[in-house]
């Protein structure tokens, strides 16, 4: 029987297979950041161990880093200690680090691909659940915990329990105003936050094949929000073109050898997935979340659902709790929900194409009165590119704040946070209670919807902008 893409990449990394034991997998690339690594390095020290493969390991600073005044000492002493700890650990163990202020610094999942380190057919891990992002290249990429970070540092391998395979096939073409973010939010709403549990999802079909690499990263990034172990997309010419010429991409004869291998990384025609989901791209529309988990979403044109409409008791209870937290009432049109803050950024939507599409909507328009908009590029390289294209000027002219690269308000570990009760439209990945700041309320949206929302002051898509004549309701 044929094998799926995920099974092929897995099989190519088995160091040891034994009956009744998890497979021991080799890890090609280990990404580190300041939050989930200190206890792992501590463990190495206590056991007298070293980092086995410093040549397959790279670190950057992203979660804690401020997005303003980065030339000044970090105000929060605990954040500062964590960054200093990473710097010391990388120096002590010989790990390459791109710290705050470095031109290669940025959100770890933006940095790996842009350096050309994320390649098809590799295994990628990081102590961060959004490691699934790298699956866009046909890599098998998992988020791991700190014990596993220590395990990979010490052994460059991980014992991994077997997975199940799921195909999410997206047929047809996405309508013009529908983005990768809308698509993945719709997928999660369909299968639920636990629907992917135990599975590696392969996204396939015409709509996926037509996506750019950056859009594919947005899709794979949010696989974890459906509970999946990983998300993958088979590498193709789009993938090869993205990787070619990057700093760590293979060159010369090695490039040809690599591409020949990468072309084998497709699910065989006779392979069987454990589960299949089929989506009609042509039926999709701009999508936003109304609740407190990423599966609680609906088309922007819809209304806030009635909890009683959920047949399942736990979903009904979750909807009730979510609406109470979000301060929304059943039946309220989503387009009437006013926001205080708009955040464009994160490993989900902080790449150059995301900034371009937000800027295109904002160009010549202004952010609504009383709304603050933060634009946080995913990396310093993304920021430099945006400046070169003049996007920063578009944002600031519209009244948005143009910030320094980092995770920022996606999780509010740095000073960029929502206040209690404050409502945001955010291009990030999680609308959990308090995720963006204690008591903050988050609606997950695409960059286009974020920008249109900033202009209108209520949840909106670019299509709503032609008739902005009255000030936003508060």
């Amino acid at each position: 029987m044929g094998r799926t893409l995920a099974e092929k990449v897995w099989d190519d990394h088995v160091v040891r297979r034994a009956e009744g034991e998890p497979d021991l997998l080799f890890i090609d690339l280990h990404l580190l950041h300041e939050v989930t690594s200190p206890q792992a390095f501590d463990g190495l020290r206590k056991a007298g161990r070293t980092v086995r493969r410093t040549d397959l390991t790279i670190a950057t600073e992203d979660h804690n880093t401020p997005t303003l005044d980065i030339d000044k000492p970090i105000a929060d002493p605990v954040s500062r200690t964590q960054l200093e700890t990473l710097r010391k650990n990388c120096a002590d163990f010989g790990v390459r680090l791109h710290p705050l202020g470095d031109v290669e610094q940025g959100v770890v999942h933006v940095v790996g691909p842009q350096l050309g380190l994320t390649q098809p057919g590799t295994t990628v891990v990081c102590g961060d659940s959004h490691t699934s992002t790298h699956g866009a290249f046909g890599a098998l990429a998992f988020g791991i915990g700190t014990s596993q970070v220590e395990h990979v540092l010490a052994t460059q391998t991980l014992p991994m329990a077997p997975f199940k395979t799921m195909a999410v096939t997206v047929n047809g073409e996405l309508p013009e105003d529908v983005t990768a973010k809308d698509l993945i939010l719709a997928v999660i709403a369909r299968i639920g936050t636990g629907g992917g549990q135990g599975y590696v999802i392969e996204y396939r079909g015409e709509a996926i094949e037509k996506l750019s690499m950056e859009a594919r990263m947005t899709i794979c990034n949010m696989s974890i929000e459906a509970g999946a172990r990983a998300g993958m997309i088979a590498p193709d010419e789009t993938t090869f073109a993205y990787v070619q010429g990057r700093e760590h991409a293979p060159r010369g004869a090695e490039w040809d050898e690599a591409v020949a291998y990468w072309k084998t990384l497709r699910t065989d025609e006779d392979a069987v997935f454990d589960h299949e989901v089929v989506i009609d791209a042509t039926e999709l529309a701009p999508f936003v979340t109304w609740g407190t988990n990423p599966g609680q979403g609906a088309p922007l044109s819809a209304t806030v659902p009635e909890p009683a409409s959920f047949a399942d008791e736990s979903r009904r209870l979750a909807a009730e709790q979510a609406l109470e937290y979000m301060g929304l009432r059943p039946g309220q049109p989503l387009r009437e929900v006013g926001v205080d803050t708009v955040f464009v950024g994160s490993c989900t939507n902080g790449r150059i194409e995301d900034l371009r599409s937000a800027a295109a909507v904002l160009d010549g328009r202004t952010v609504a009165e009383g709304v603050r908009m933060l634009v946080v590029p995913g990396s310093v390289r993304v920021a430099l590119q945006a400046v070169e294209e003049g996007l920063d000027k578009v944002f600031t002219a519209a009244g948005a704040e143009w910030r320094h690269a980092g995770c920022s308000m996606c999780l509010g570990m740095n000073p960029d946070q929502l206040s209690p009760g404050e409502r945001a439209a955010s291009t990030s990945n999680r609308n959990f209670e308090g995720r963006q700041g204690k008591g903050g309320r988050t609606h997950l949206v695409s960059p286009q919807v974020a920008a249109a929302t900033a202009v209108v002051g209520r949840l909106a898509s670019p299509a709503d902008l032609s008739d902005v004549t009255e000030p936003a309701a508060v």
Binding site: V15, R16, G20, L24, F26, D28, V35, T36, Q39, D42, A47, T54, D55, L56, T57, I58, H63, N64, T81, Q82, T85, R96, G116, L117, Q119, T122, D128, S129, T131, G143, G145, T146, S147, Q148, A154, T155, Q156, P159, A161, T193, Q197, G198, G227, R229, E257, A258, Y261, T292, G295, S314, R315, L317, G412, M413, R430, F432, E433, G434, R435, K438
Partner: protein
């Protein structure tokens, strides 16, 4: 890692689904560089509500958490496991766990017990009616026992063995040094490197 064989304690009914790791331990706690001292951050936002189940004196000192489906979703932060353990929990029961959380738990000796929702419902009713009722989580026999409830649970044999013995994964893996070296020798030269070895 501390071994887990069997544990008997009082249980807390947490009637919530989709308890994500941001709820278990909010991000601002993640700036700490140790594995301890997270107990005050556990369910921090919910604990501000005096009616929250962990604030009810009847459940003080409970060591088993009985939660709704999709427990531990979201962030991979192992701090969520440390916070539960620092607070005093030895086991968590749910009808579905997020993969990364479950993996993290097993590596720290926090037992995650997968039971059908009907059994979780029964445990909720039981522990709400009588907060003092003992609940036993027995990894040797692979079952949960409480008044009127006896439920077997699955856990793969390898994970169970490592928990029962309290084994350190890294030491186990390093026994395969020869296999790792052999794999490394056969890796394609076009694979990326972050720096010279």
């Amino acid at each position: 890692m501390e071994a887990f064989t069997t544990h008997t304690g009082r249980a807390v009914p947490l009637r919530r689904s989709n308890v994500d790791t941001d709820q278990i331990i909010p991000a601002h706690w993640l700036k700490k560089v140790t594995r301890d001292g997270f107990e005050d951050g556990l369910f921090e936002a919910w604990r501000k509500d005096p009616d929250f189940v962990l604030n009810q004196s009847a459940y003080k000192g409970a060591t088993v958490l009985v939660a709704g489906p999709d427990f531990g979703t979201g962030s991979s932060r192992e701090h969520a496991v440390w916070a539960l353990q620092n607070y005093g929990f030895k086991a968590v029961i749910s009808s579905r766990f997020a993969d990364i959380f479950r993996g993290n738990s097993l590596k720290n000796g926090l037992l995650t017990v997968l039971l059908p929702q009907e059994t979780v419902d029964a445990l909720w009713k039981l522990t709400e009616a009588d907060p003092t009722t003992p609940v036993t989580v027995d990894l040797v026999e692979r079952k949960v026992v409480a008044a009127g409830i006896e439920a077997e649970f699955e856990l793969d044999e390898n994970a169970r063995w490592r928990l029962l013995e309290g084994l350190d994964d890294i030491s186990l893996t390093l026994k395969n040094e020869d296999a790792i070296v052999a794999y490394e020798a056969s890796r394609a030269s076009f694979k990326p490197r972050t720096q010279a070895a």
